[in-house]
């Protein structure tokens, strides 16, 4: 079997992440998660306040004003996947440039 290049591997991985967002995320279990459930049962959530950004357009992994269950989750998920990938990759590239050369003199950012 021919070995995948790193670029192809990353693209494949991002495709899987996008597929999970499109196909699985809208049907994710909507029950409170472990912490939320325990917090309510044990009474440690009495001081909980609304999130300071609760009115932001993508709050709670939906799109403000979009009631369609799938569309809101899709947009939120795709934005999150893209933003997470871009911030991490850009941050490391920028810091690497600022701090000098890479180990093993590998200068190619694509492979």
């Amino acid at each position: 079997m021919r070995r995948l290049s790193i670029a192809a591997f990353v693209l494949l991985g991002l495709t899987v992440a996008v597929a999970l967002v499109i196909l699985v995320a809208p049907n994710a279990n909507a029950n409170p998660d472990g912490l939320e459930r325990v917090a309510a049962e044990q009474g440690i959530d009495t001081g909980a306040v609304d999130h300071a950004l609760a009115d932001s357009p993508l709050a709670d992994y939906g799109v403000d004003g979009v009631d369609h269950r799938y569309a809101g989750t899709w947009v939120a998920g795709l934005v999150g996947v893209a933003v997470a990938f871009t911030i991490v990759t850009a941050l490391l590239l920028v810091v690497r440039r600022a701090r000098g050369s890479a180990p093993e003199a590998s200068s190619s950012a694509t492979a």
Binding site: V10, A25, V38, I44, V49, G80, V83, L91, A109
Partner: protein, 232 residues
């Protein structure tokens, strides 16, 4: 609401502030170490780890009646790209979730980063290394050790949360009872965490085992060395 990290108002300001300072120091160290050691061509793989963990955290699975769980991702990131880069990837996911998706409190961000990114990655990787040494240098050991370490981490994280709550919790509750409830539900979440992590690491091991940080000493060359050792 399909996901919830520690929100604002659970744990008091001073405790959150200390966690925030620890988080900043730890993440700065992780950025430094990652950019010192990671090859340029591997940088997008760290981005992929963050993107995948973000997507996987949206996939809440049922763990008990009326309760769900989702991947934390510490072991997945640490085994794939190393604990330093992995902690960084999970940190960015948590920051994006808090700032863009209103998931996880802003004052609690440091607590969430310490618990899920820093402790999740480093304690998770330590457990992984211990298990992998026990299992031997085979590709299947990588997948198995990653899965079991990923089962352990949510339990560790839930105990850590309980300790933080004992220090700075805003409600006076029984800490023993809180610990029992947290560990019980996170042991169940750990089963899902272990399965997802094992599946993901197993998939990468079939495609590009050389990209798996936790498998750097496992592979054709390492296997040949072991065989030579066994027959000499």
């Amino acid at each position: 609401m399909i996901g919830m990290h520690i929100p604002d108002g659970f744990i008091d300001g001073p405790t959150s502030l200390v966690a925030g300072l620890i988080a900043i120091a730890a993440v700065a160290w992780c950025v430094r170490r990652t950019t010192d050691t990671l090859e340029d061509r591997h940088i997008p793989v760290v981005g992929l780890a963050a993107a995948f963990i973000f997507a996987a955290q949206m996939l809440n699975f049922p763990v008990a009646s009326g309760t769900s769980g989702h991947l934390l991702g510490g072991v997945l990131g640490a085994v794939l790209v190393g604990p330093w880069a992995g902690a960084l990837a999970v940190t960015v996911v948590l920051v994006v979730q808090a700032l863009v998706f209103a998931d996880g409190g802003l004052s609690a961000l440091g607590l969430n980063v310490v618990n899920m990114a820093v402790v999740g990655s480093f304690v998770g990787y330590a457990v992984y290394l211990m298990l992998r040494r026990m299992f031997g240098a085979r590709p299947s050991s990588v997948t198995g050790a990653a899965g079991i370490a990923a089962f352990v981490v949510p339990i560790v994280t839930s105990i850590l949360f309980t300790v933080e709550y004992a220090i700075g919790g805003n409600d006076a509750v029984s800490i023993g009872s809180l610990a029992g409830a947290m560990v019980g539900v996170h042991a169940l979440i750990g089963i899902g965490e272990g399965l997802i992590t094992g599946l993901a690491i197993g998939a990468v091991m079939t495609m590009r085992p050389d990209l798996v940080y936790g498998a750097r000493d496992v592979g054709p060359r390492a296997a040949a060395a072991i065989l030579r050792g066994a027959t000499s």
